[in-house]
Every structure is written in C-alpha cells, then in structure tokens.
C-alpha cells in the first residue's frame, strides 16, 4: 500500500505527457528544428518552478513526509561521460522521438512497436554496465 502513491503520481505524469503531446515523435522533431516554443515552454517552466521549489526546500529546511530532512544528492561530476552519453542519448531521442518516460506512456497508449524500443533500451543500459566500470 505504501507504493500506491507512486502509482498515482505516475498516472498523473503519464496523462500530462500524453495530453500535452510530450510523447509525440512529431513534437521532438519540431523542438530540434526550433519550429515551436511548446517543448521549450514545458521544460523551461518545469525547471524554473523546480529551481524555486528546491530553493525553498533548502532554505526553509523543509522535512519530507516521513519527517526526515530532505537531502538532494549532487550529480557526480563526470563531464566527459555527461557530454558523450548525452550526445548518444540525444541521437536516440530524436530518432525514436521519445525519452525513457514517454516510452512507457506510449506503451500504455497501445503502440506495440514501442516494446521493441524498450527492450533495446534495457539492453543498451546493460551494455553500458558491462562496458564501463
């Protein structure tokens, strides 16, 4: 039962990604061609509000729902991996028109071919694990 809240948050996330067409292959092409503000508005407003929310959490020492202090881990500084991995992902993101979240939303939407992409993505994550220590 403790997990049901994550299911509900996930459902909300899936609906918003579908209804705002963030899962649309066409929207990703449009974004990389700079032919609409839509995706920039989505990511930009999410980040802007995210920065504000995290600053408030840090400044006010807000505790989480379990009463524990909130610790937001820093991302490891591995700039060459961030960049090279980022480029590799970017190539795939544009080709397939979906990043990991939308892959699952699209599967639920009924696109069967997406299951092939998900399986390949899991295998890609596996290759990363055996490739790099």
């Amino acid at each position: 039962m403790k997990l049901i809240k994550f299911l509900l948050i996930g459902i909300g996330f899936g609906i918003i990604l579908a209804k705002a067409e963030i899962v649309s292959w066409y929207r990703i092409v449009e974004m990389f061609r700079f032919e609409s503000f839509h995706m920039y508005g989505v990511i930009g407003s999410a980040v802007l509000l995210g920065v504000i929310a995290l600053q408030i959490i840090k400044k006010k020492n807000i505790k989480n729902f379990e009463g524990q202090p909130i610790v937001i881990e820093s991302k490891p500084k591995q700039y060459s991996r961030n960049l090279i991995g980022g480029i590799i992902f970017g190539l795939g993101w544009a080709l397939i028109g979906a990043c990991p979240g939308p892959l699952f939303v699209l599967a639920g939407f009924g696109y069967v071919s997406i299951l092939i992409v998900i399986a390949a993505a899991v295998f890609g994550a596996f290759l990363r694990g055996i490739w790099v220590k």
């Binding site: 705002a20 449009e30 990389f32 820093s74 980022g86 190539l91 028109g97 979240g101 599967a107 055996i130």
Partner: protein, 187 residues
C-alpha cells in the same frame, strides 16, 4: 469538460512536471526514469554477468511502480481523454517531414512509417527501432540520467553535470534531425 479532451498547453504541463518532481522528493525519492532501465537489467539477472548490476532492486520498486503508473496514464489518456488524432505541430515541421517522406505528418503520436506494425516487415524499420532504443538506453545511463534526471531534476538543482548532459542531448538531437534524418528517411 471540453478542456479535458483538448490539447493541454505547455504552461499546464511544465508546472505539473515540476510538481511530480517535488512530490517524489517530499516522499523521500527522486525523479529519474532511466534508472529503471538498470533496475530491469538487475531483475533479469544481469548481476550474474557483471557486478555493476548486483544491486538490491527492491529498493527501486517505487520507481518501477511510478513508470507502471505512467504506462497506465497513457492507457487512460487513450481510452478516456482523447478526441482528435493529431499532434498540433507547426506547419513548417509538417511540410519538412512531408519532404522527407512522412505522409500524414502531425498524426498522433508516432509516424506509421516507423511504428506501424505492418512496417516491421521492413528490416530498416526494425533496425531504426532497435538502434534508437540502444542509443537511448546506453546514452542515458552513460550520461547518468535522461530528460527527467538531468534536464528537470538536475537543472532544478543547478547541477553543472546536468547542464553538460543537456547540452549533449541537444548536440545529438540536432545532428540527428538536421544531418541524419535526410539520409535515413524515407525508410
């Protein structure tokens, strides 16, 4: 009710996505979808081949439940919240996609040329699906996160590694669409 079935704008979606991240943090977790790909490897027994995957995947159950929810969200949208079969993209994008062989550009949500089941008999289509998945899976994990983990969570936390990763995302995406699409398509 009409607003429920029409297209939702960025100024609805962006704040809701920020809220998803904040809720996950307040519940003691973090917002990052691509970790699930590694968890899937661990569940499938990759730990027997490589220690990298020797993790206790049960600590990541919440994240698997989260993406199961996202999947259900997709299903609910399809069944109950959709009316028209379009992506409301710009006319310029539609025209350009038509010029490289995409008929019905701006449908919902994926082009038939790549994702329709009867396109699978074309080996090039299968190649694109598998290559795309491999790039997404390998790239996100090598970069240490995807759009949720780096672009939303990382940038919200003012992380330089995330900014570097997002710049990478855009370099890759721009190269794919501007230079490689005209070579790859039509399939």
């Amino acid at each position: 009710m009409e607003v429920l079935f029409s297209f939702w704008s960025w100024y609805v979606a962006g704040p809701v996505i920020a809220l998803v991240m904040v809720f996950l943090i307040l519940f003691g977790k973090r917002f990052g979808v691509s970790s699930n790909l590694e968890t899937a490897c661990s569940i499938l027994g990759a730990g027997k081949i490589n220690d990298y995957f020797k993790t206790d995947w049960k600590t990541q159950k919440w994240n698997l439940v989260f993406i199961l929810g996202a999947l259900l969200g997709g299903f609910i949208s399809r069944q109950f919240l959709m009316t028209d079969e379009t992506s409301h993209i710009s006319a310029e994008t539609k025209a350009w996609l038509s010029s490289i062989g995409f008929e019905n550009a701006g449908g919902m949500f994926l082009p038939e040329e790549i994702f329709a089941l009867d396109s699978l008999s074309n080996p090039k289509v299968l190649f694109v699906l598998i290559l795309g998945g491999l790039l997404v899976g390998f790239g996100t994990r090598y970069a240490g996160g995807c759009t949720s983990g780096h672009a939303i969570s990382g940038l919200s936390n003012l992380q330089l590694p995330s900014l570097v990763a997002v710049i990478g995302f855009f370099i890759g995406g721009l190269v794919m669409v501007h230079f490689l699409f005209p070579l790859i398509f039509p399939l």
